[in-house]
Amino acid sequence: MSRQSNRTTDSKKMNSELFTLTYGALVTQLCKDYENDEEVNKQLDKMGYNIGVRLIEDFLSRSSIGRCQDFRETADVIAKVAFKMYLGTTPSVSNWSPAGDEFSLILENNPLVDFVELPDNHSTLVYSNLLCGVLRGALEMVQMAVDVRFAQDTLRGDNVTEIRMKFIKRIEENLPAGDE
């Protein structure tokens, strides 16, 4: 029986490794395909965006979270529900701007970067930039335009990984011309 339970916890961890290894293979391939780190960062963001616009559907159907009343609630949902559900880690929300439209997610550990080291010639590569795209895409589908970027990254020598999210505007739903 205990062997059985070992298998299940192992298999969840293993899936995380599968994801991490696949992400690593992707970044490596992108570095080969594109000449500079800026291009790779852009591609990762674009791919993340495409994933995010689909992931939000999965998220909304699996969690029973209703509409958030304000940006603070959004931040809490992202950190405590979404990150926990998908990456198994709960970042802390902090560094709110005075206007309440910008905050930081501090991640103690980032599953994407298990086993990863950045070589010296890729110092401007934002390895986990996919995450920024995912957050941007997902929030756009719930009518929020946000700007997401990495402020600190453990791969580049910082102590923690910090994602900075800034609310830009609410996206109005556009009715097709000719309707009502």
Binding site: E17, G24, Q29, G88
Partner: protein, 163 residues
């Protein structure tokens, strides 16, 4: 621990990205472009397969023979990577193995029948690479191909290369 569906989404996006990139530089895809995409995906899978098998077999004893390796691939390895076991393993005992998975995880969401059959190879290339990478790190050089006749069932053919 990353959630399972994240891997599915990532895989879908990788396939889509590779094909869009190849297409945009040429305008229209021909067979050569398709082959390039497939081989890029396959080589990515190869690296992943090598890594996965290292982690998976860290503490297990060495395998008795080729058939033992293939049985391991069909059970533990397939469970870890594709979340189920292989349904059927056939061999001619001369280095060729056919692994049949009747509900292959990347195909279940595409269709259950003949629809989109021509799209299936795109989503199998990475997996072929994963299997080839795993076998390679277990000491077996092989050629892995996949074929689909009815979704979501698919057959992986492994031909072990004798030195």
């Amino acid at each position: 621990m990353a959630d399972e569906c994240l891997f599915d989404f990532l895989h879908m996006e990788i396939v889509s990205h590779m094909y869009t990139e190849q297409q945009s530089s040429k305008g229209e895809m021909d067979n050569k472009d398709r082959a390039v995409c497939v081989s890029v995906l396959e080589s990515m899978g190869f690296r992943v397969g090598q890594g996965i098998i290292e982690r998976l077999t860290r503490d297990s004893p060495s395998f008795k023979d080729e058939l033992d390796v293939m049985k391991f691939v069909c059970k533990d390895f397939w469970t870890k990577v594709f979340r189920r076991q292989v349904d059927n393993l056939r061999t001619n005992h001369q280095g060729t193995y056919v692994l049949q998975d009747n509900k292959f995880s990347f195909l279940t969401q595409l269709s259950s029948g003949k629809q989109y059959l021509d799209q299936a190879p795109k989503y199998l290339a990475f997996s072929c690479g994963v299997v080839r990478g795993a076998l390679s790190n277990l000491g077996m050089d092989s050629v892995v191909t996949a074929e689909v006749s009815v979704m979501p069932s698919c057959k992986f053919q492994v031909v072990v290369q004798k030195l």
